[in-house]
């Protein structure tokens, strides 16, 4: 007889360092917590260096330097230098806003391996509206500066109902900018995106049309541009695997030092995530209740509990389960086996109602004022 399936375990491979929640842009699909303005006590350079060293010693090798806008940190080059000396592969995940040729050269000499920039839309008016800041021309200029410094051009475009009809133009823009990698990230509904879900979620037809265009283009530019297509999981039958297993691969450290098994996990009630100011990364990874909380199958309810697919998807996303059902142990309702799958269908229906209403709700922009009001 086969034994019980064992939950994977492992040391962190990926460290996402959210250096700051400050950001000059106001994208309404931001994945940062809605109450980010309450968590302003940023880690110092020395504290970040310790986090990087300790996580590297445990086996972390991919480092995402993110935010907010990581360029706001004046010590970014110092952190890159430290990370590179430790042997990390360093990924800067930025809006590109405010990046200059000098800063890119400085980051490069510090050992930065790669820069990913995001553009909101393939045309100025929509880009600047979504970003909440006039930034389109500057971002395109930055994309060219990055190429000119010998970096590959890694472009990310977040896809949602406000720009999904422009898929062909998005692809043309990526080619025009000489993108080597293009990430087409369908919006995941957390943080600000969850708040704006009715205004952001495309219809099934819109997403299927866009996907056909993107997949055809992927074939066309094979060998020149790699296209990653992040699927919108509200239209899937099965949920995405929760972080490749909870506390098995990914470690996020938020600007205020909170250590999270997933960058959305701050929202889960009662999880009580540890802070790097109080514990070492080893203690956090190996001993903290938060990192052990879902690192097994015992918390599961039916239908997950007896489902053979639980070893593949780990019950789906805990944060999505909580956001849609209020129960963090529920089956991710994206799963068609979930008794609460109708919550996903209702969300799709509400978005559709907003779309056809003729008077769509205004987008709520991600800024400190809204964060303090809504958080």
């Amino acid at each position: 007889m086969a034994g019980l399936p064992s939950y994977p375990n492992g040391s962190p491979r990926w460290l996402l360092a959210e250096l700051t929640y400050r950001c000059p842009l106001q994208c309404p699909y931001c994945s940062n917590p809605v109450d980010y303005a309450m968590h302003q006590n940023e880690l110092s350079t020395e504290e970040w260096c310790r986090v990087l060293s300790e996580a590297r010693a445990l086996g972390a090798v991919q480092l995402g330097l993110s935010g907010g806008e990581p360029l706001i940190r004046q010590d970014l080059s110092a952190l890159v230098l430290h990370a590179r000396e430790l042997g990390y592969y360093t990924n800067l995940i930025t809006s590109g806003y405010g990046l200059t040729a000098e800063r890119i050269a400085d980051l490069k000499s510090s050992g930065l391996d790669h820069i990913q920039i995001s553009i909101q839309a393939p045309e100025k008016t929509l880009n600047d509206t979504l970003a909440g800041t006039e930034s389109f021309e500057q971002k395109k200029k930055v994309a060219r500066l990055i190429k000119a410094q010998g970096y590959p051009m890694v472009l990310c475009v977040v896809i949602h109902r406000q720009n999904i009809h422009l898929m062909s133009d998005i692809l043309a823009m990526a080619t025009e900018l000489g993108a080597d990698y293009l990430e087409l990230a369908n919006t995941q509904y957390y943080g600000w995106a969850h708040l704006n879900r009715d205004q952001l979620m495309p219809t099934r037809e819109q997403f299927e049309t866009a996907e056909v265009i993107a997949q055809a283009y992927k074939e066309k530019v094979k060998g020149q541009m790699k296209i990653y297509y992040v699927v919108p999981d509200y239209y899937e039958d099965r949920p995405k695997p929760c972080m490749n297993g909870w506390g098995t691969t990914f470690l996020t450290v938020a600007p205020d030092g909170l250590a999270l098994p997933c960058h959305e996990a701050r929202i889960l009630p009662g999880l009580d995530c540890p802070n790097v100011r109080d514990f070492s990364i080893r203690e956090i990874w190996e001993e903290s209740p938060a990192f052990k909380h879902f690192r097994h199958f015992d918390w599961m309810e039916e239908p997950c509990k007896s489902c053979p697919e639980k070893i593949k998807d780990f019950g789906g996303c805990r944060c999505q389960a909580y956001l849609l059902t209020g129960n963090l142990n529920a089956t991710d309702p994206v799963c068609s086996k979930s008794p609460l799958h109708h919550t996903v269908e209702e969300a799709i229906h509400l978005a559709e109602q907003d779309r056809v209403s003729g008077s769509p709700k205004p987008l709520i922009f991600r800024n400190s004022l809204n964060s303090k009001t809504l958080g």
Partner: protein, 90 residues
Amino acid sequence: MIQDSTRLGLSPLYRLQWEESQQRFVMLYPEGMVELNGPAAEILKLCDGTRSFSDMVGTLETAFDTQGLRSDIEELVQAALDHGWITILS
């Protein structure tokens, strides 16, 4: 096509690195990583732009004290090219 004189190098984005915690070589690239087995790592280490493909084969056959490795090496090199880990320099 890989020929005797072909020189191979790692692609600009890629880094081959020993990982102490995993006790193996890995190939690192933007937001990703491939864990390599021993033979793959030995082959990719020689893709450093300084030698021809036939030199690579000779070096590996000497190192492993085995003849007839050419087709195995070519297969892995071709797969690495297809994945974009390495490029043909000349």
